[in-house]
């Protein structure tokens, strides 16, 4: 009998599936939408289509958080997300002000989610430093 997948396995499977779909949709949008295209409804559709995957990633993370049965590991995961959110707000807000007053390269809004994901790694380090564990589910 095959054992039912754990919450972590389900999360990883969905995450990998969505990531593959994301890469495929970005490639497709790059192929379909010409460079410097006017913002017609079709162009907007193809442009935001990969963005729906970002919503899927966030939904999957939320689902994993709710599915975690171990309250301590869930607390550590939640703390990681809070650290990531704080870091993202600080970086994007700070850089935004820098753009306003100084001649610096513009930070594309597109980078906000990857910055948040990097923040999760920082959150893991915070957990490691304060709780002695990064918060990875070893169960």
């Amino acid at each position: 009998m095959v054992a039912a997948p754990t919450a972590k396995q389900r999360y990883l499977r969905v995450h990998i599936g969505l990531s593959v779909l994301y890469v495929a949709l970005v490639a497709l949008a790059s192929y379909v939408v010409p460079d410097d295209a006017a913002p017609t409804p079709g162009v907007v559709f193809w442009s935001i289509l990969p963005g729906l995957i970002v919503i899927g990633w966030i939904w999957n993370m939320g689902r994993y958080l709710f599915a975690m049965e171990d309250e301590y590991l869930r607390m550590l995961e939640t703390r990681k997300a809070l650290v990531a959110t704080a870091l993202t707000l600080a970086v994007s807000g700070g850089w935004g002000l820098l753009e306003l007053f100084a001649t610096v390269p513009r930070l594309p809004v597109f980078f906000v989610f990857p910055i948040w994901c990097l923040g999760l790694a920082v959150g893991s380090l915070v957990n490691l430093a304060t709780a002695g564990t990064s918060g990875q589910d070893c169960a």
């Binding site: 049965e69 171990d70 309250e71 301590y72 590991l73 607390m75 709780a131 002695g132 564990t133 589910d137 070893c138 169960a139």
Partner: protein, 63 residues
Amino acid sequence: MKNRLKVLRAERDWSQQDLAERLGVSRQSVNAIETEKYDPSLPLAFKIAEVFDQTIEDIFSKD
């Protein structure tokens, strides 16, 4: 919050992993509770009391 988890576990010759399996949580959770880095929720505290066949007050106390 202080607790007697380590003593109770030692009396039964259980490892942290043994207790974690009985409670249905991770070993990290047991370690965090034992070292008083984390206070368990009321449902988990009841489960701990049940596993050791004691009351919550017998296991946990205020600082």
